[in-house]
Amino acid sequence: MKRVPVFLTLIIIYIVYSGWVYTAGTSTAAAMNEKETAGKELFEVHNCESCHQLFGLGGYLGPELTTIISDRNRGPFYATALLKTGGGRMPDFHFNDAEIEALLAYLGYVDRCATTYKTASANRLP
């Protein structure tokens, strides 16, 4: 077996594929606005992903948040209440109103991007 040529071929394919993933492969979503970016930063510095998932990435102790805003059983009011006081397992992070607004804007952005998520839910057996 020609080890070096096989290795180099795989590396070249990997580089080309990575470049495509970084650009055309992930160009489906619009960029975030300033408030949404601020919300995302808050989500990150408080390490929310250790308990919550977005698109299946994150922890399992708290509920999935990808479609929390459009979910008719939860929605923005439910999210606001939890962000203000915490919940059963969720500590109170003492977010102020501006922070809550930013977090809701970010979750709203995530929800709008979750097109396949909603299609998948609709396709699941009743």
Partner: protein
Amino acid sequence: MNHKRTASLFLITGLTTMVLGLMFGVLGGFQYILPDFLKEPLTFQKTRPLHVYLVISFIFSSAVGCVYYFLPGVAGRKLYSPWLAFVHWLCHSLIIAVVITGFFCGHFSGREYLEFPPAMALVILGSWSLLIVNFFKTMPISFHRQPVYVWSWATGIIFFFITVTEAHLWVLPYFHNNIIRDLTVQWKALGSMVGSWNMLVYGTTIYVMERITNDKTVGQSKTAFFFYFLSLTNLMFNWGHHTYIVPASPVVKEVSYIISMTELLFIGKIIYTWRQTYIAARLNYHLLPYRFFTAGDFWVFLNLILAIIISVPAVNLYTHGTHITVAHAMGTTIGINTNLLLGCLLFVAFDRAPEFAARYKKYFMVSISLLNISLLVFWAALLICGVIKSNDALNSVPFATMMMHLQPWFVMFTAAGVCIMISLFLILFPLISIFFQSRNIAGKEIFVS
């Protein structure tokens, strides 16, 4: 400065982080079943990253320690710079100390598995560069003639550097401000990073197997290289099954699905060599590393079946984001990586201080059985949790009710987690003691090539 001493320091560091990581894992388990347990002083947002980071540190520290330990013997010459290796260990240990202190103080980047602030990544890459220099300067120039484990080590070392860099592309607004790009690249980097440490672990295991069986053809066979290239292909392209639900281009999913199915070849190989492995395991019944490797083989089989099932898009639709994914992760990190690494570490321990290590043989034997039985219960509990969660999600059951349904299985996996911790302590503490007491032994170098 002796390279075996530095290798021992890496191994002691790895074993210590594992002890701590297991303790935080068990604390996290209790937080699942007792909602108010340490809710304010040590929230789950801290215990989870502490657990994950520390156990990953065990894998990397131990694998790197083994590479430093075996490398001069494989290369047939002295380590390029034992001092550079020592500086690497010093940086590595300082990084671990800074990261866990940061987690206690609540400093996070909020990125799954790599929750430390992004500036730390630069330090990690700098320290890893020392290993890159030492590895490639120690290996002879005729690299292409080297056995498969050298290729695996080299691949693991290079791809760790690449994937840590890739996992931090999010600091650029181009990636950070587009959630689809950010998540896809994050999964891509993490998936390949797992592949990079697997390369280090599998490379070390193949080398130790070669030493145990004294069969030098193992590392040069066409089959070994075929499976090395198949693993490399999976490392590069098999991350996409995590992103089926992310609305990136469908091509990502298609590529990943096709590559995932090549894992069937690994299954075929395991079944084909099963009887051979079984006979060898029986023949080597008293050979502790071999028993750990056999256990690892069993977990490779179980996890590959699970991985292939959850890679099927129609199944992934129901299992994604449930505890079935955790079962797969735990089966891989504990069942495969930990079993294999412990086998390698026992080999090193008996090489360093055979009489001293023999004193603990009884504990090691108990540890193997208890670890794998507890893990099977742990794994099964997670699979059941996943099925319940998937079913509840399908029926739009509220999250609080879902958690009530899962509670008995959380108790089961926490209890099994405690048993896993106890079983691992039976081997970790004696190994720490062996490596600590034998750290200054230079030892005889065995050149295999």
